[in-house]
Structures are given as structure tokens and as C-alpha cells.
Subunit: 415 residues, 2 copies
């Protein structure tokens, strides 16, 4: 089974919107064993849509279309689909009722455009969009299933999760798929691939391996595909046992997806609490940690100290440390970590202080210079990093590096 | 002049990598008046590459290819291009020398894979890649110019900025393009489009309008294209004057891109400082505000108070307020705003307290219930919102709603 993803929308082609929908859809389809052979982004133009549909329908089993279902004049996907299939647009009463409810709930009044959103090509099956006014639509044409979804990411995801993926799974129901994720740390991808080559070459034919690198982590994904679930489980467990013998010291987790999730698991296991004091990362570490549901069990909070006064008055960094060494220094970042650990009464604390850019760099401390400290019951230690000259990237790298330092400390304590 | 962007790489089609390169390239081409008619992501497969090239070369002036130029076996773009053009791969001495220098600088040794990177299709012009080992390549075929660039974002950008874009500009030098952004707030996209329809229908033919909605803001972009710059400027200014008469109360800015940027501008203009106290948003507001370069001029920082103890001990929320009304209440969020405003000595403060989910909801306070307070010299006020049941989205919406409340307050003060 394979699929083509088509994204419709001028905003993609003028570069205003990064097409994150396609990556998400590709990932989900991959997990249920459907291969994506192509991703296409096209303009809101009837001929383009028709040409893309022709190509896709003749070459794959599933066509997933997103975008162009909004209420404005430039959204023409619905009309283009109706014309392509040679059918009329008709008003769907249930969709209209749903839109009316949503509009009323939003304390607005129904207008002509809202009413138009209830029109659908007469050959489609409606996929009810609980989160928005644009209905999802499903078509069968030739041997292909075509799904048209709104481009708003959370509406698209909800429709995929609750309606499209379950339906796709039915068509692949004789195929069993098992995934196993292994998180590793300590070797870059190219080096890790070299070390794992003999093991990889000996994997049974039902198992495939994917390297999924993310900042601070490389996830290995084993996928077993076949008809007999218990045989697949056996194969995957035996491959995993062999892997554990090859890189015992590099494996740092199994089921987490991100560093912040892994840290949450470790903190809960160890019954420890955490706080953060952030200067250059400006709340980004707190934001990452609290993105995990249930993080209030181990995370007390952060002091985002964007000025020296806050560092001094709230975190109790010594005035003389700030004067003598500057805010971006080992002394200050260590005092920040100690300060927040004490103020928030936690077992562990992270602190960051750096020059995110684009200005503020000096010869001695160029843009990207960042100090990160970890404080725990054994004391405090800090490390210096020099990242690049791009603000956004520096903030991200500093945040992930800090989480990485904490993770290593937690794993070491665990031994 | 128009272009097609082709991204080559299996990692895109399994959803492991989001294709940010294409959005960046599309944006740059758009600014110099080259329209991107399609973005295609395909697998590292010779037939796919050949098919995509056929389509692109026959329909546009420029084809920009990224990816598949790495040193590993799955990178086949160069071989596929040579086969497509019916030429051989030959070793380029200058490229080899450059790779040798880079490898030596990285304290590694030249290996077979590095040497292979110096091989190029014999009909190409090399675009020297100062930042990496994979050379950029330029081909002329039929009436199209084809450029092949490495997929590593910073290498691709450097090659585009220093070599490809200057070359493209030469071909479009007689075309003048002017953009004007107008930020609006207060009406959803569908309603705004309705109000603006008569104005839009009367725009001169040299001007086009795009709706660029982002959370909390809708940006209108006017683009004028033609040969006479002063006439274009006149046309755009006159259209803008008419727009101002249609929606005077909805326009909230011109050159900012986001709410956090707009707030930064307003705070700087008014010479005011800001702090935040975040519970449910967990540092996300701080992170948004500090994503703006220069935010330290007006932003002092945040107290991320993820527990009641921190609310009480650091923000000085009264214990009886927490006991009587609970953490998610008007009383507590107002005391949080007052507390951080005092602690951080700022002119304004934002506070949030809510139930982000997926657990913690009750009948009286369902998941998504969020209180947001703004404190300023006139006192403090709070509003209650009930968002949805998705954690990530609740955090995002609460953050943007808070920034929005602040922005309105700043604009009102400004009157």
C-alpha cells in the first residue's frame, strides 16, 4: 500500500507556511505500513489540482489532500474536486447544522461564507470535523481512496487520528506491524552506523531499521512486518537483545520520544524535583519540560531572569560576581543554579546564561557563548559552549544541551 | 519567471524531516519576483528524479533541487543528473582540493567517499560550497536553468544567497516588486474577507492581496508588480489609504510579523517594562517574548510557578486565596500578576493559571479552563477562557490570548 500527499495552498508556495502537515502525515502512514512515494505542494488553482490528482490516482492507493477548504475566495479545493469527479456541490444538512453550532458557540453570526462551507461534492462521504467548520471528505475513484482534509494542523490531525487512519488500517489489517524504539546517546549518526553495521546486516528479513536523529538523541526504530504477530515479537526481542550486547553503554531509554520526556521519566523514577533559572533560553527550557503532561509531579518552575537585577534580587547572584565576571560566566550561572534550587526548594536545578544574539557579542565572548550549570545535592558544576550566530538556533541548542546535561547526571546518579 | 523546487530524500517521505528548505527557497524567490509553481519531495530513486526533472524542465524557467548529495550510498542525485543529461561523472580538481582542505581542517583523513564527492557531471558549472564538501551544480538544459544544492540548510542557504539568487536576479531585473504588510485584529478571516470584498475588487490590476492568518493576527499583504517603481508605490499607497477608511479600528500595525514582535514595538514606543507569572503556560509566554531580538530592553523575565508553593512563597499569593478559590481562579491569577509586577519591578505584568490537561479537570473547572490577568499602573483585571482538551494547543492558545490582551491594553493606553 502506498500514498501520495498533496498540499494545496499559495501560502506554501510563497514560503509563508512551512509544510509540517505532510511530515506528520508521512510519519503516521509509515507507522501503519503505508509508504509515501511523493509529497507535492501546489497552488490553489483548478488545473494544478486536477493534474496532481490525475498523477496520484493512477499511481497509488491513497491520496491525502490538505488545504484549500477555508471560507475565502482563494480556497477552491472543494470546487476543483467536484469538477474533477464531474459532480455538483450540494448542501449537506448535517454539516450545516454542525457549522451553525460552532458559529453560535463562538458567539458569531452565520454568514454566506459559513453556509457555503456546508456545500460538498455530491459523491463524497463526509468526515465530520469536530474542531472546525470545514468538513473532511472521502472519495473512492478508480482504485484509489482520496481524502481531503483542512490544512489547519490540529483539525487535520484529529480527522486523521479518529477517522482516516482507522479506515486505512482496515485495508492493511492482515499485515502486522510492530515497532520498537531504542534511544541512544554518545555517538554521532555516521559513527553509530559504522558500529552497528554487522548487527544490522544480520537482522532477520522481516525487520527493518531506521535512524531517527534529533537534537541530543538518536532514536533507532526497529520495525517488524509480517502476518504472524508472535513470531514478529520474538524476532524483534531477539534483535534487541543482540543490540544491547553491542552498545550497552549508549542505550539511554526505550519508549520516550524526546529528551524532555526521558528526563520526566527519570525524575519520576528517582523521586526527584527540578527547577530552572533561565537567562538566554528565556523560558524555553521551562516550556519544553512543561510540554509533558504530568510534569507538575517533578517540576516546580523557573525563574526567567532576563536582567541582572532579577539575577541579583530574585536568584541572589552576588553583585560582585556580576561585576567581576559578567552575566555570561561560570560564576554567575553556578550561582543562578544554586539560587533557584534554594528558592524553589528542589533536588536539582538547571541554569543558563549566554549571548543568544544577534547583538551583544564581544571578542572574548562572541555571540553564541553560553554557560550552563547543573546543581544537585553533590554541588554545582557548569560547562561552556559556543554555539552559532543565529538567535533562534542558539536558544534551541542551549535548551537541549541543558536537558542533555541533566539527563546524563540523572543516568549517572542512577547507576 | 517561475520555478519548481524538488527535494530529494527518503527522510522527508518517512516524515522524519520537515522540509524547511523549500519554504525558505520559496520565500526568497517570491521576494525577487519568481513564482514557485510547485514543490515536490521525492525518494532517492533514479526514475523518480528523472520523472520529476522531465516535468519541471518542460514547464518552468528554474528548477531548484536540494538533497541527495551526501557521501553515503543512498545519495544518488549526482549520478541521476549525469544519467539524465547523458553525460559522465568526472573528477573536478578544484573541488577535490577544496574537500581535501575541509577534511584536513576537520582533522580527519580523506577517504574514498570524500574523493567521490569531487566527481561531477561533466556538463555542470560548479557552485563552490564554502561551508561543506558537496559542491553545488548548475546546468542549462533546453530553456531551463537547473541548480542542484546540498540539503544541509546552512550550506544550501549560503549557496542560494551568494550565487544562485544574484544570478536569478539578473534575469528579472526589469521587474519591480513592492510588498506592504498590514496587521489586523478583531475579525476572523472569513468575516474580514467579507468586509474587504468591495475594496479588494477595486484594487488596481498591478496589485495582489494575500491573507496570511497566524494565531491572534491576520496579516494582509499587498504586492505590486510592474516596471515603474514610483507608479507602483503610488498605487500601493492609495490602496492602503482606502483600506484605512474601511477598517480603521482593525489595523494594529504594519511591519511586525507576530504578536510578540508587535508587543515589543509597543512597549519600546511607550518606554514600559514587562514581566510574566506563568502557571499553565509553563514558560511559553516568556519563550515567545524572548524570541524577539532586543527583548531585554523591555522584558525583565518570568516566574514560572508550576506549584502552589511557588505561587505562595515567590509570588506572594495568599494561602487563603489558594485554599478558598483554588489555583485556577480570578483571585489567584490577579495576585500572581500583582506579585510578579512587584517582585520584578515592572510597569506591566501578565499572569496565567489554568488546566492544560489532559488530566486535572473537574465539573466546575473543565480541562482548558484558564484565567489570564494583566496588571498595570491602573490596577489588575482578569478574564476567564475555556479552551479545548488538548494540552499543547491549550498552552499555545493561552499564551497568544495573553499576548493579545496585553496588546489591546497597550493600544488602549496609547490612545
Amino acid at each position: 500500500m502506498n500514498a501520495i500527499i498533496i498540499t494545496i495552498g499559495n501560502e506554501i508556495l510563497i514560503g509563508q507556511t512551512v509544510d509540517t502537515n505532510s511530515a506528520w502525515i508521512a510519519q503516521e502512514l509509515n507507522l501503519i505500513g503505508i509508504e509515501v512515494s511523493k509529497i507535492i505542494s501546489i497552488l490553489d488553482e483548478k488545473e494544478e489540482i486536477s493534474r496532481a490528482l490525475d498523477e496520484a490516482i493512477s499511481s497509488v492507493d491513497f491520496v491525502i489532500i490538505t488545504g484549500g477548504l477555508g471560507p475565502t475566495n482563494d480556497d477552491i479545493t472543494k470546487k476543483a474536486l467536484a469538477d474533477y469527479f464531474g459532480v455538483k456541490l450540494v448542501q449537506d444538512d448535517q454539516v450545516l447544522e454542525h457549522i451553525d453550532k460552532l458559529v453560535t458557540k463562538r458567539k458569531a453570526e452565520m454568514n454566506e461564507r459559513n453556509i457555503k462551507q456546508a456545500e460538498i461534492p455530491e459523491n463524497c462521504t463526509v468526515l465530520k470535523n469536530n474542531l472546525g467548520t470545514a468538513p473532511g471528505m472521502l472519495f473512492k475513484h478508480k482504485n484509489a481512496t482520496i481524502v481531503s482534509l483542512p490544512g489547519v494542523p490540529f483539525e487535520m490531525r484529529e480527522l486523521m487520528n479518529t477517522q482516516v487512519i482507522p479506515l486505512m488500517k482496515q485495508t492493511t489489517s492482515d499485515l502486522q506491524i510492530i515497532h520498537k524504539n531504542i534511544l541512544t546517546q554518545g555517538l554521532p549518526e555516521s559513527k553509530l552506523a559504522e558500529v552497528l553495521e554487522p548487527w544490522e546486516n544480520n537482522l532477520p528479513s522481516c525487520i527493518s531499521l531506521a535512524y531517527l536523529p534529533s537534537p541530543g538523541l538518536i532514536k533507532l526504530r526497529l520495525t517488524a512486518k509480517g502476518s504472524n504477530k508472535s513470531l514478529l515479537e520474538e524476532a524483534i526481542n531477539s534483535s534487541l537483545d543482540k543490540l544491547k550486547k553491542v552498545i550497552p553503554e549508549l542505550i539511554c531509554g526505550y519508549n520516550s520520544e524526546t529528551l524532555e520526556e526521558l528526563i520526566g521519566t527519570l525524575l519520576k523514577e528517582q523521586g526527584k524535583t527540578l527547577s530552572t533559572a533561565e537567562s538566554c533560553t528565556g523560558g524555553n527550557i521551562a516550556s519544553l519540560i512543561t510540554s509533558i503532561a504530568g510534569s507538575s509531579a517533578y517540576y516546580q518552575g523557573s525563574v526567567v531572569a532576563y536582567s541582572n537585577e532579577i539575577k541579583e534580587n530574585v536568584l541572589k547572584v552576588k553583585g560582585c560576581s556580576l561585576n567581576e565576571y559578567g552575566a555570561v560566566s561560570k560564576q554567575v550561572v553556578e550561582e543562578m543554579a544554586i539560587g533557584v534550587k534554594k528558592l524553589y526548594k528542589t533536588d536539582l536545578a538547571i541554569a543558563t546564561s549566554g549571548i543568544a544574539g544577534p547583538t551583544g557579542g564581544t571578542f572574548e565572548k562572541p555571540i553564541g557563548t553560553t554557560w550552563i550549570a547543573i546543581a544537585d545535592s553533590n554541588g554545582v558544576y557548569a560547562e561552556k559552549y559556543i554555539f552559532g550566530d543565529q538567535r533562534e538556533r542558539n536558544i534551541k541548542r542551549a535548551s537541549l544541551t541543558a536537558l542533555n546535561m541533566l539527563q546524563k547526571r540523572l543516568l549517572a546518579t542512577n547507576l
